[in-house]
């Protein structure tokens, strides 16, 4: 299908909207009526047609506006994209992976022509037609990681692998759930996850690390993660928290449906061929509560998850103060009926709201 790109903002007037198409394909993160941490990994080998799982790097209606927002963030703070000196080769791996995947998966939008190391990259939505020499940094306007991730939705952490450990040694991080690349760069897997409550004690990170160390070339993996954001703000960075934190206090019973957003990360993991690094894209999808509850199954389930979430998690995810307001709003869309297993909307088979 041809994607109609939105012209929208993720700041100031917040004109971001999801079309009915985007709502229906939203990666709803709860496969049952409750939530707890788990090593919820699965293979990233496509998915139902039209779903966010179908392509290796999903492109949707928000593409151009997200790239414009990323450019604004980087202009304000170039430290959001960093690469330690030994990670340049991994950056070229990332560039190659994204260019080949996008040109194969979206041939109407992206083209890659290769003649040895002389490459020509065409990004039609962004109006880019650029010839360069693969592995020659002087032929690109930025480093390879920054160049390609200025053209690709989602954050990107590039993890070096050595001593049976993963190290956060490069990244493009502008749509993050409140963590700082500039602070965390160079840390190992356990260190950068240190602030996460409960999961260490549950052995989540030990098992996740073991899985990730063994991700093989050509066999990427994926999982969903989630949090909450007031207003469709992509850049919920700690750097700017003193500016956006106050927005959390603007929720009212009247505006919560439009203002409160469920924020879902589609996290994928790709082994890179030359560097043996692991590419960790973290793609952020936002949806307003009023759009979530337009799917009856999701309305029922989100209410139950938010209501029953352990206090530590609600605190860590930053919505403990707003939880009563959220529960009050969401309860109007929960009639107590059972829900079908799995994340899909099941619009044809799930009953409409009975109240």
């Amino acid at each position: 299908m041809t994607i109609q790109f939105n012209n929208e903002t993720f700041r100031n007037d917040y004109s971001f909207r999801n079309s009915p198409w985007a709502i229906k394909r939203f990666p709803f993160p709860f496969h049952e009526d409750s939530y707890m941490y788990s090593v919820n990994m699965e293979q990233h080998r496509g998915g139902p047609a039209g779903s966010v799982y179908e392509k290796r790097f999903d492109v949707d209606e928000h593409y151009l506006s997200e790239m414009a927002d990323r450019a604004l963030v980087l202009a304000d703070d170039p430290l959001r994209c960093q690469s330690l000196p030994h990670m340049t080769l991994a950056g070229w791996d990332v560039l190659e992976l994204i260019m080949t995947c996008k040109s194969e998966d979206y041939p109407d939008l992206f083209e890659l022509h290769r003649d040895g190391n002389r490459w020509r990259w065409i990004n039609k939505p962004m109006g880019i037609d650029h010839s360069f020499t693969f592995l020659d940094e002087t032929t690109l306007p930025q480093g390879p990681l920054e160049y390609i991730t200025r053209q690709t939705q989602g954050d990107f952490a590039v993890l070096d692998q050595r001593d049976e450990m993963l190290w956060m040694d490069a990244g493009m991080i502008t749509t993050q759930a409140d963590w700082s690349l500039d602070f965390d760069i160079g840390m190992n897997f356990f260190e950068w996850h240190a602030p996460v409550p409960l999961a260490h004690e549950m052995g989540i990170f030990q098992r996740a690390l073991k899985f990730l160390l063994n991700v093989q070339q050509g066999a990427p993996a994926r999982r969903l993660n989630w949090t909450m954001t007031v207003n469709p703000l992509l850049d919920t960075s700690p750097e700017n928290y003193h500016k956006w934190g106050v927005q959390k206090t603007t929720l009212t019973p009247e505006n919560i449906g439009a203002k409160q957003h469920l924020r879902v990360e589609l996290q994928t993991f790709f082994r890179l061929p030359r560097s043996n690094a692991l590419l960790f894209p973290i793609r952020c999808y936002l949806i307003a509560f009023q759009d979530v509850v337009s799917v009856p199954k999701w309305g029922r389930r989100l209410h139950r998850v938010v209501r029953d979430l352990p206090e530590e998690l609600a605190t860590y995810k930053g919505f403990i103060a707003n939880r009563p307001l959220m529960i009050e709003y969401l309860s109007r869309f929960d009639d107590g009926l059972p829900t079908s297993p799995g994340i899909w909307p099941d619009l044809e088979t799930e009953p409409p709201l009975q109240k």
Binding site: E191, A194, P195, V246, T249
Partner: protein, 202 residues
């Protein structure tokens, strides 16, 4: 002075040990303030260690308290620096001249150990050749996550960023690359509502 026992914390927070003599052709000891006591204890363990040792010592608030005691250990080289920043050039030179088998001993405040550790690792000294022992103040070196400025010797939570003036709370999340803990705005969601500052670990 008794050693402070840090409570258990998150995995990015450094933990410190007790300096012990190790075999080596050369030894580099870097300490500030009460960190001198750890060197004195270490020297008492083993004869002959000091003859192969270079001490870099920054007295900070302790003035002359430990200087003569350290000198009396008869280290091969002894340098007393007025501040850590003033000593860094010398430290880098010493590390660049180092040979395989150098043993590094760090003692004193977290800020000193973190920064010197960074220099040593950058110079290629393996982690396994570096020991640390905390002595003296529990003051922290903090980075403001908002303006990136470093505030040295923070002893209270919250504190005021010495660069941008925001009120920051003290996290245990620690970056070895920056040799600093993270400070985050405490009143972002309720501007002006800043709880009274409390001494760390009080």
């Amino acid at each position: 002075m008794s050693k402070f026992q840090f409570p258990e914390s998150i995995t990015s927070r450094p933990v410190y040990g007790t300096l012990a003599p190790r075999p080596g052709k050369a030894h580099l000891m870097i300490a500030d303030a009460e960190g001198a006591e750890a060197i004195l204890d270490l020297a008492a363990h083993e004869d002959g260690l000091m003859a192969k040792t270079h001490i870099i010592y920054i007295p900070k608030g302790t003035g002359e308290t430990y200087v003569e005691k350290l000198r009396a250990l008869k280290p091969a080289q002894f340098y007393v620096g007025p501040s850590y920043p003033a000593s860094v050039q010398r430290l880098r030179r010493v590390l660049s001249d180092a040979h395989m088998g150098l043993q590094v001993y760090l003692a004193g405040t977290e800020g000193l150990m973190g920064q010197a550790m960074n220099e040593a690792v950058t110079a290629g000294i393996p982690h396994s050749a570096i020991q640390t022992e905390h002595r003296g103040s529990t003051a922290r070196r903090m980075q403001c996550v908002h303006c990136k400025g470093i505030t040295e010797d923070v002893t209270t939570d919250p504190f005021v960023c010495s660069h941008c003036g925001l009120n920051l709370f003290v996290r245990d999340h620690y970056s070895r690359r920056l040799a600093a803990f993270q400070g985050v705005c405490i009143d972002a969601e309720d501007p002006g509502n800043v709880p009274p500052a409390q001494e760390l670990y009080s």
